[in-house]
Symmetry: D2
Amino acid sequence: MNTVAFIGLGNMGGPMAVNLVKAGYTVKAFDLSQAALNHVVEQGAMQAPSACAAAAAADVVITMLPAGKHVRSLYLGDEQNKGIIDVVADGTLLIDCSTIDAESARFVAEQAKAKGLEFIDAPVSGGTAGAAAGTLTFICGGSDAAFEQAQGVLNVMGANIFHAGGPGAGQVAKICNNMLLSVLMVGTSESIQMGIDHGLDPKVLSEIMKVSSGGNWTLDKYNPCPDVMENVPSSNGYQGGFMVDLMVKDLGLSQEAALLSNSSTPMGALARSLYVNHARQGNGKRDFSSIFEQFNKKG
Amino acid sequence: MNTVAFIGLGNMGGPMAVNLVKAGYTVKAFDLSQAALNHVVEQGAMQAPSACAAAAAADVVITMLPAGKHVRSLYLGDEQNKGIIDVVADGTLLIDCSTIDAESARFVAEQAKAKGLEFIDAPVSGGTAGAAAGTLTFICGGSDAAFEQAQGVLNVMGANIFHAGGPGAGQVAKICNNMLLSVLMVGTSESIQMGIDHGLDPKVLSEIMKVSSGGNWTLDKYNPCPDVMENVPSSNGYQGGFMVDLMVKDLGLSQEAALLSNSSTPMGALARSLYVNHARQGNGKRDFSSIFEQFNKKG
Amino acid sequence: MNTVAFIGLGNMGGPMAVNLVKAGYTVKAFDLSQAALNHVVEQGAMQAPSACAAAAAADVVITMLPAGKHVRSLYLGDEQNKGIIDVVADGTLLIDCSTIDAESARFVAEQAKAKGLEFIDAPVSGGTAGAAAGTLTFICGGSDAAFEQAQGVLNVMGANIFHAGGPGAGQVAKICNNMLLSVLMVGTSESIQMGIDHGLDPKVLSEIMKVSSGGNWTLDKYNPCPDVMENVPSSNGYQGGFMVDLMVKDLGLSQEAALLSNSSTPMGALARSLYVNHARQGNGKRDFSSIFEQFNKKG
Amino acid sequence: MNTVAFIGLGNMGGPMAVNLVKAGYTVKAFDLSQAALNHVVEQGAMQAPSACAAAAAADVVITMLPAGKHVRSLYLGDEQNKGIIDVVADGTLLIDCSTIDAESARFVAEQAKAKGLEFIDAPVSGGTAGAAAGTLTFICGGSDAAFEQAQGVLNVMGANIFHAGGPGAGQVAKICNNMLLSVLMVGTSESIQMGIDHGLDPKVLSEIMKVSSGGNWTLDKYNPCPDVMENVPSSNGYQGGFMVDLMVKDLGLSQEAALLSNSSTPMGALARSLYVNHARQGNGKRDFSSIFEQFNKKG
């Protein structure tokens, strides 16, 4: 498993590919953007003439793409083009690190299986900083054997590798988690602001809730109220971090999943509405903890 | 500060008073229920003929009552009766451990102050088990001096003693925390159920979210999905724990506080509606993690 | 029933009192603002030296005040002052037209009854235009006899006089209605905007829904989308009409009522949160149909 | 335009086809269920051997199918079968009366257009009673010319024919309307129940709100509270009418549409969650006004 095809070299994919190069893998890289491609080639990757060319010559294919439709057409092909599953050698392991809808992930896995290929959905979290540092979290869906086989490359790029279940389970687990995260963020924001509205010091209130039954990840690592924690987006004008637009995307995926399975997610659905309103008011490029301002602004 | 008047000897107040007896305090006890009173007298407390009689002879007064109106009338008196603040000796410290509305707490503190008395609102969490074990959490509002003075008795009854701010801040911090807790519980329930609806194993999904950005107290200590954790109410038919009716009460206090301060709490308000529906469907006496069934039931 | 004491002569109370003068009633007027008082005296009302003086000499007392605490202290008195129920003659009819919490209305009615007096809660809708034109809607709570007796004066000031039930029922019915109105407004706004987002003409969509099962008062009289209807606030920069701040007040009363009766109102509670956010963003003085902008703005 | 192919002859499609027969149209009928087919053949329709056979010999094709995927595969064909657009004569008018996702409607319309064919999406409301009586409402999307051409057949089957806009607009308008309807139903239910909880008579409260600013279709035609109106499902054990499962389907379509257009629909999303919970509790086959019981039940 020494040769990796890496397709999709943006803010996340680029540094992930470079980490594989540094770890000694032969990386055959492709991206529609020549600039993105040049960037990783300068770091030691080999430029492939096309995605399929990269994949055909690899032991492992890793993809990092924007949405389900890109993953479907790249792996399965379309009227004009063959797909990756049509060109790879027997035994090639397919790993899609994109965050996409679970249905697409399951469908591509099925089609791959019909050709005797193993496909893993392995969406990541940890942001561009984690991609550069090789400390990403991967949440994987696929067979035990494929998950085992993927350990090598995933451990180079990440620090936490979870196996959520069969095909699609990685995508489902990630959006369950991110939906819950949005609920934590909104719930924590409104709770802190209500405390402030009653004259409490948000630092003191946050400290109390952090070690009580209100304790959650946002209080531990990512307090949304300015100047409660250092080195978090809320103390830096809500710059950096995880953009509102990306949370809106993930919440859209969560609601798509809820529709598919006829699930009721009142909190997740409400969080999506609040985040869409927030984005429409011009906050799409700010950190997602800026939802705090929906509760805090004074007219 | 050796003599404590303890008024309100129910499921919580009873064991708290007994812990003070065991620690060597002289406890003058009173409750409208003779049975409750007998119980602590058997453990070494002294029976007082009335709440005011108990208070008049004490260095510290501790009260544990159902609602704001009881606290107001006991401390301030009414047309028929004197209040505690009318009868206690100078320098008596007043500690109310009830969970009540912040406005009542602030009002009683003000009236006490007008008589030169220190009043602390010190609502507890930790349940009857914590009361018996002396491991309660107290979240206090009041002056620094009074908080300092209260350390002795509170440390006998509790393991975590927080100072949230001035008068009423204890009540505010507690309901902010419990409102957030309800949001964590509902959000976690719907996220786990959506995973199950997509075929995921709730244990695996819970493990992943617990150490990811969805991590929160309910995943750590109180998973609402049956058979994910041992020794929690969800694995015991939702018996024991913290009753739905009590969560409804606390969410009512949180919404009362939100109205007072003109705060927006969309998640907390939604959680209250869901819990009221749940209670009205006959679940009031079950543990509050049974809200999971709202998402899980199959028609 | 020829002499009316009218207390509270603001934007609503002023024109209501003037209509009584025009209809031939002797109106004894009082307001803490001398300017407001002068205004109705110029129109033929008689200036009273105090609220109680006005009430003591009247057959009917009508009050129009901001909140429950003002109604309580004016009718019931306080430590310094007698209340209206202490000074009026036997058989004086008491009508409070303020929009206040149901509990205060019921409490004042009880205290009045203990003195043998009839008290009606009769909150109004119809705005300042309706007050001037004498076309207000009154929703009354009180006994059948008192409601019958009140017909004379209410018909002078209003066009629709409803009897909702016993004491407090007028307040309850009004806030049930206004809570529902807020839900109609938000629901209609999000539905129209979703149509626009899909390329539909909001006029066409509104016409269709108006005569279909989505039909409701806001589509008939008060479309929130600019330029769908003429002569409504949305086509005039959301000026005039019913202010966001007043809707926030009424939604606060509705949630207070829901807490009292342990009712679940998920839609009303959500509407309140959205309106509070909207007000905090600087829209408090704009018409309440401006909530449409929460869905419409493009970032 | 005398010959109509009618495909999909269930509870709705069956009586619609029969009405066309009665009006003198030659109806070539097809359904996968022979029983459904027999039923309309007995009323004078001609049995076609397949959907495409029916369509190939018709001036107008009308379809009434469960979901977007059925509409796509019937019109567009698949790997095994030709689609309707492959077999019909030039100038055949295509009308799909199914309630499906807007994206599928737009896609089929585009593909039809590429073959020079006009396609109208014309979802209906009015239920099986309206289908039998020929009083359905049709909300159409498509070109002006096609809408004009469709008048003949639609007027036979319906009483209200709306033109919402271009391709897909019929589906969008219908789900906007039905999403709003669900909000009216939930909002009205919680408002009436809050009134009841405060001792009001639901008949009186409904009468007041109906003619006030809370007025809406559910108060006019379909009061959810038992025994307020006669001849509505709520006064008949919530039997008949529009099933909860169908409202869940329509709310799913509305949320799918909201995701496509990145729209925020907090009320519609909340209504969906409440209806899914209600369905999961065993109420799927009851009338959708039974959501009232979520607020009304006493534990």
